[in-house]
Assembly symmetry: C2
Homo-oligomer: 572 residues x 2
C-alpha cells in the first residue's frame, strides 16, 4: 500500500483518482490552495500536478476534508445506521463518534454490538463509544445496566472506541466507586472519555476532569465554554434538532483557542437531516453567524480528528484517508461529490451506496415486554383534591410543577373538560407490571391516548390520554408492534401506529417511507389538539428524563428532580 502511494505520488504511475484543478481548504495553513488531488486506494497521495485513471474536473468548486460529527446518538434519527448514513454522507459527513446510549438502555451490549456491526456495511466511519451511564438514574427500570464491571469487560472490545458521555457528573465529582471503576477502566485502556457536565465549574469541574474526561457539548454560555477550554476540554459546538449552541458559542472562537472546538449534532431528527442537513448545515449556520469559513471547516475536520486521535483524518494531505467533500462554496456548502476512502459515495446530495440492512439481529427486535393491559390499570386515585401537575414549556426539556385542584369520580381523576391529561409510564423491558402515573397540563391533546416507546433514558412506554380504555389500547398496540408511536382515537375506536422495530427506538425501513408515515401520524396528533409548539411525540420522550428538572414521571412513580427523590401526585 505504501509503495503504491509513493509510486503514484512520485508520478511513476498514475493515481487511481485525481480531482483536477482543485481549490481546497488547507487546514494546516488556513489558506485555500490549488492543485490536482491524487488518490490511491483509500488514501490521498498528494496535491500537485497529477494524472489519474479516473479524473474529476472540480474547477470552480472547493474541496474539503470529510466532516466529523464529534458526538451523535444515531437513535435520535429513528433510523438504522444504514439509513442514517444515507442522509448524512451525501451532506459531506464521513466520520461520526456515535454514542449508542439509547439502544443500550434497552438492549445492553447487544445494542452496542448492533450499532458496531450494522455500521460496517456503510461508507461512513462510525466510531462507537461504550455508553457510560446506563441507566441514567438508579430510580427507574431500564432494559439493561452497564456497571463498572461491564465497562471493564467491554471497553477493549473490537469496535469500541471510547467511553461515551459521562452524564453522571455528580457521580464523578463525588467519586462514586462504580463510577471510578468505569473511569479507571477507560483510563487504563487509553481510551477517550466524552463528557457531559452542564453548568459545572470551579473546583467541581476540576474534580470532574480528574476523571480523565476530554470533551463537553453542554455549554450554554461563553463563560462556561471558556472555563472548560481553559481546563483542557475540547468543546463541541452543538447543532442538534432541539438543543443548539453553535452560533452563540462560536462567538467565543478566537485564534488562541480555535483548535479546541469541534462540531457535533448530538440528537438530530431525520426530518432535519433530510431537509436542513447535518454538519453541512452547522457550517452554513456558523458561517452565516459570522464564523470565519476556514475556521469553521477546520473545526469540522482537523479539530475533530485531533480530539479523537484520528491521525489520518481531517485534512487534505499525503497519506490522509481520502474522505473528501466537494462543495459549491464556503457559504452554502452544497455537496456536489462526496468521496469516502477514495470512493465516490454520493453525488448531488444522492447516496450512491446500498442501505440493505445486512445485520439486524433478533437481539434488538421485539423489545416490548408488557403483559396485556386493561382500562382499569390506568385509574389514578387521589386521596384529596389537590394534585401535583407537571407543566411543560414548548421547546424546552425542563418541566415545571403546579399544585392544582383536580376533581375525582369513582376512584379516578376526572379530567374531562380541563387542560390536564393523564400520563403513564409503563415499564416495557421486564414484565415488572410497573406503571407510573401522573398528570400533565398544557399539552393540548383530546379524545383518546397517544404514546411512544422512546422516553429518555430508559425508554419505557410513555402515554398521554384522557380515556383509560384508549390508554390501554395504545399500550397494547405498542406491545403488539414491538415498539413505536401510537394514537388510539376514542371517537372512531381505531388505533393508528408506526412501528420502530429496532429496540422500539428506530426503524429498519428506508428513511423516505418512514418519514412519510411518521409525518402522517404526527399530523394526526396535532389534529387531535396537540399544541403545535410541541413536537407531537418527541416532546413526550423527555417527560421521563430524571436528570433534568423539575417534575418527571418514571415507571416507578413521580420524581422530583430538584430533590432527587420520589414524590406523590397527591399534594395534600
Amino acid at each position: 500500500m505504501i509503495k503504491q502511494c509513493i509510486d503514484a505520488a512520485a508520478n511513476r504511475v498514475k493515481a487511481d483518482i485525481v480531482l483536477r484543478n482543485a481549490s481546497y481548504v488547507n487546514v494546516f495553513t488556513g489558506r485555500i490552495e490549488e492543485g490536482d488531488i491524487a488518490i490511491v486506494g483509500d488514501r490521498i497521495v498528494g496535491v500537485g500536478k497529477y494524472e489519474g485513471k479516473e479524473e474529476y474536473d472540480v474547477k470552480g468548486l472547493t474541496v474539503l476534508p470529510g466532516y466529523i460529527d464529534g458526538h451523535v446518538h444515531i437513535e435520535s434519527s429513528q433510523l438504522s445506521p444504514e439509513e442514517f448514513a444515507s442522509l448524512i454522507v451525501p451532506r459531506g459527513t464521513t466520520t461520526i463518534i456515535a454514542d449508542p446510549h439509547e439502544i443500550t438502555n434497552v438492549c445492553g451490549m447487544d445494542g452496542v454490538d448492533y450499532i458496531i456491526r450494522a455500521s460496517k456495511n456503510i461508507p461512513l466511519d462510525v466510531r462507537v463509544q461504550l455508553p457510560s451511564c446506563v441507566p441514567a438514574t438508579p430510580f427507574e427500570t431500564s432494559g439493561a445496566i452497564l456497571s463498572g464491571k461491564d465497562v471493564e469487560e467491554h471497553i477493549c472490545d473490537d469496535g469500541v472506541f471510547g467511553l461515551g458521555e459521562f452524564m453522571n457528573y455528580p457521580g464523578v465529582i463525588n467519586a462514586d466507586p462504580d463510577v471510578i471503576r468505569k473511569l479507571e477502566a477507560a483510563h487504563r485502556a487509553g481510551k477517550i472519555i466524552d463528557g457531559h457536565a452542564p453548568a459545572t465549574s470551579g473546583n467541581a469541574l476540576n474534580a470532574y476532569l480528574c476523571g480523565g474526561i476530554s470533551t463537553d457539548h453542554e455549554c450554554i454560555s461563553v463563560e462556561e465554554l471558556d472555563e472548560k477550554i481553559s481546563k483542557g476540554m475540547y468543546v463541541h459546538l452543538r447543532h442538534g434538532s432541539s438543543t443548539r449552541n453553535l452560533v452563540s458559542n462560536s462567538k467565543a472562537v478566537n485564534a488562541a483557542n480555535m483548535r479546541r472546538f469541534i462540531l457535533c449534532t448530538d440528537d438530530r431528527h431525520a426530518a432535519d437531516l433530510k431537509e436542513k442537513g447535518h454538519i453541512d448545515d452547522a457550517l452554513r449556520k456558523a458561517v452565516a453567524g459570522g464564523l470565519d469559513p476556514i475556521w469553521a471547516v477546520t473545526i469540522a475536520t482537523l479539530n475533530g480528528a485531533e480530539c479523537y486521535s484520528l491521525k489520518d483524518k481531517g485534512a487534505i494531505a499525503p497519506m490522509k484517508i481520502a474522505d473528501l467533500v466537494v462543495v459549491d462554496n464556503l457559504k452554502d456548502f452544497n455537496a456536489k461529490y462526496v468521496f469516502k476512502g477514495g470512493k465516490l459515495v454520493a453525488e448531488d446530495g444522492k447516496p450512491l451506496f446500498d442501505t440493505t440492512k445486512r445485520y439486524l439481529p433478533s437481539s434488538v427486535l421485539n423489545t416490548v415486554h408488557v403483559d396485556p393491559l386493561k382500562a382499569d390499570d390506568f385509574r389514578l386515585t387521589l386521596k384529596g383534591k389537590r394534585a401535583r401537575v407537571m407543566t411543560i414549556l414548548p421547546g424546552n426539556v425542563v418541566t415545571g410543577c403546579e399544585i392544582m385542584d383536580i376533581a375525582s369520580k369513582d376512584g379516578d381523576v376526572d379530567i374531562v373538560g380541563t387542560d390536564v391529561l393523564k400520563m403513564a409510564v409503563v415499564e416495557r423491558h421486564k414484565h415488572t407490571g410497573n406503571i407510573g402515573k401522573g398528570l400533565l397540563k398544557g399539552y393540548g391533546f383530546k379524545g383518546g391516548a397517544m404514546g411512544i416507546t422512546i422516553s429518555h433514558d430508559s425508554h419505557n412506554i410513555i402515554l398521554l390520554g384522557d380515556d383509560n380504555e384508549s390508554m390501554a389500547k395504545a399500550a397494547n398496540e405498542l406491545a403488539r408492534i414491538g415498539g413505536g408511536m401510537v394514537i388510539a382515537d376514542k371517537k372512531d375506536g381505531k388505533v393508528y401506529s408506526l412501528t420502530l422495530d429496532i429496540a422500539g427506538l428506530m426503524s429498519s425501513r428506508d428513511a423516505d417511507s418512514l418519514q412519510r408515515d411518521s409525518k402522517a401520524l404526527i399530523e394526526r396528533a396535532y389534529s387531535m389538539g396537540v399544541d403545535r409548539e410541541q413536537e407531537a411525540f418527541m416532546s413526550l420522550a423527555f417527560l421521563s428524563l430524571a436528570v433534568i428538572p423539575q417534575l418527571k414521571l418514571l415507571d416507578t412513580g413521580l420524581f422530583d428532580v430538584t430533590k432527587f427523590a420520589f414524590t406523590t401526585v397527591d399534594a395534600e
Copy 2:
C-alpha cells in the same frame, strides 16, 4: 489514583503539593491565568483555591508546562542519559524524543536498549525512537545494521516509541524495498515516524510523506517550511549547537499554522547545555527574535505533546502529568523550580536527583575493536603528483575538493611544511583492518596526530596527522582506552586522551569533570595549531558523513558524495 485526584480537586482532602498564587501560561486559551496549582501524586488535579500538604508560594513567578524537546540525539552531548538529564532538567525540559542513531550505529539494538534502560532512573521522560537508517549509507562499515526485518522485529519492543528520523529520503521517494519494509512496520504498529528531508519539495515531498512520515527539522527557508506544514508535517524549530534554524524559521509562525511547530535541539554539546541551556535557551532566543512568548511556550509544550500523542503532557490542567517549570519571566526563562511528575527535581538550576549510572552494560563498553597499528599502516602512496584534497569551511559540515600538487618521498606523501594533513578512517567495529586514507587542507594542526572515535554516522576512528608514527600511536591509544579523543604529540612523545567509554561516543563520568578534561584536550589541539574557527575534535566527526557533499573519507576509501561513488586520492 483517579479517586485521590478527584477527592483533592473537589477539596475533600488536601493536595500533596500546591503551588500557591501561581501565574501560569494557559496554552489552551493563550492567556496568563492565576490560581493555586494543586498536585496529587504525579498529576495536576486543578487550578483553583487549594491547600496542600506541601506548599510553594510562587507569587511573582510564572509557571509553565515542562518543555518537550521533539528531537534530540543524547549522544551529541557525549554524556550518559543520566548526566544529560542533570544538565537539561534543571533548565525545565521534562520530556525528550530521543533518537539514539549514533550509539545504534556502533552497538545496534544494544545501544537502543541501553538508552531506554539507563533513562528509566532519571526524572526525565525519554521517549526512544528506533533509528531508521543504520547505517546511514551502505558504503562504509558500521558497527551494526538495522534492516527492515530488524525494524519489524523491534518496533513494538518495550520502550520503543516510534521510528527515528528517516534520513534516507531518496530511499523513501524511490520506494526501496527495505525502506518500505521499515515504513510498513511502523505504520502497522501505529507508531510515529520522524522525518529528515532537507530541500525536498513538490511531488517528491508528497512521495516522502506517503511513507507516513510526520515531522521535519531540516527546513532552511520559510518557503520550505511552509510547504512542509501545508502537507501536514509538524516542523521542528531547531536550536542545536551547530545547526540552528529557530529564529529565522520562527518568522513563519502565524495564527493559522502555529499548532504545527515544535522545538528541538537535535545535536547539542554539553558545553552549550551547561553554559547556554537547552529548550529554555531556545525560548529565550525565539522571544528575543520576536516570537510571541505565549506562542513560544505553546510550541515548546502543547504542540510537542500533540505531535507525539503525549495526551497527558504539555499543559497545566486537571489530570495532566505534573511536569512544571517555574520561571522568573517570559523573557529570561530562568527556572527557579522544576517539577517532574509532581516531584521537585531541580531548584535554581541545580538538579536534586541522583545521576548514578545504575545501568551500564558491557554491551556498550569496549567497542573499539582494532588490531595494533604501526606507522607504516598510514603510508599513503600516490601514483603521480596530483591529488584530490578535501577542504573544509569553518562551521560547515559541507566539504570541498581541491586538486593539488602533492610531493612524495619513499612511497609516502610528503606533507611536511604544507597546509595539508594526512587523514585516516580506521574501521573499529569488526577488526576488518580497513583504513581509508586521504588528505585534508586547512585544518591547521601540526606536530603529531589527533583522532576521535566519533565520526558520523558509522563512528569509525578518524585521525589527522603529519606523522605516521603519531597516527599509529593515536589509533592504538583509542583502542586501549575503548574510545574517545586523543592527541599524540611528536615533540614530547606523549599521548593525551579522554575516554568516551560508552560506545566510544559518550562518557559514563559526571558532566562537570568530563567537561573540564575535555576542554583541556581541546585546548591542547588548538595549541598545536588547529584553526580556532573549527571545533577542534567535533569538526573531524563530520569528515566521514557520506550524505553531505562533497568529498568524504570512509573506512572503505575516499567518497565523492556528488557522484555517490568512491574516488581516489590520485587525481591523474
